[in-house]
């Protein structure tokens, strides 16, 4: 036996917990906060690190579209119950996490299927400054 650890939680453990909460909040602000929800949403599908689809959410077909990766196939379809979004309706992957994620509707949200190595992300329009600042006349 190298060393018997302290077995009762104390304020120092609380400090570690607070640190993890702060880290989660900072990550949340940095990752979720940067995705403005203005304008048209774009569905971006990648498989094995390669972008295989980039289409406007409104233009995505109503019939399910199949994407394959790493020997698995995902059926991706749109949901119009309430706000328009996208989901994995059927998958033959072993974990089914992609199906359980449900419908994503906001910019920055992702559905990730690790066994199939497929990710489906909703991208929003960013204020990149490419467009005109002012239109006259």
């Amino acid at each position: 036996m190298k060393r018997m650890p302290a077995l009762k939680a104390n304020r120092w453990d609380g400090a570690v917990a607070v640190l993890v909460v702060v880290l989660a909040v900072v990550c949340g602000v940095l990752i979720w906060g940067r995705t403005a929800n203005a304008g048209e949403l774009t569905v971006v599908v990648t498989a094995d690190g390669q972008e295989v689809e980039r289409v406007a959410l409104d233009a995505f077909p109503d019939t399910p579209r199949a994407y394959s990766g790493n020997g698995y196939t995902l059926q991706v379809s749109t949901e119009t119950d309430g706000k328009r979004g996208i989901c994995v309706s059927v998958s033959d992957c072993p974990t089914q996490d992609c199906v359980h994620t449900g419908t994503i509707t906001r910019a920055g949200q992702s559905i990730v299927c690790l066994p199939a190595r497929i990710s489906i992300t909703l991208e929003g329009e960013t204020a990149s400054g490419d467009g005109p600042d002012l239109v006259i006349g």
């Binding site: 390669q50 066994p115 190595r117």
Partner: protein, 172 residues
Amino acid sequence: MKMKTKQLTLCAVLTAMALALSYVENFFPLSLAIPVPGIKLGLANIVTLFALYALGAGPAMMILIARCFLGAVFAGNMNALIFSVLGGVTAMLVMILLSQIRKLSVYGVSIGGAAAHNCGQVAAAVLTLGNTAPLYYLPILLGVSLFTGALTGLITACLFRALAHTHLMRGE
């Protein structure tokens, strides 16, 4: 030589226990309640944490690597190896550092390890998928690690209390 054989045997038993716990936690699919890819209770971390205090950092790291490799072989899924190794090693390094702070109990060390494990797994997912989409789940995973880390810390504390008066803890 006697101690070496005893320590080797203990390492083998702990590796087997970690593998068994990895299998058992499949019966508690946390992802049904929180649909996040790769989310787990992390029960095998009980063994890692126990080994860290009972045997030291070196043997604990060996048990971890053996568990990750054998787990991938038995599951027939070598793709999962990068996730378990990156998550496990990150967690181990953080727990080694935190265990040096004598004022921290197993709870603090366990929570820090669980958070680091999730960070490592998200990094593995980013590397595997080739994009940053998995980062979306990092804040949720960090929040969940508070509960999973506290749970594994609680079980580890119970384990140490139960074994406190055995010859194993007295180092005989």
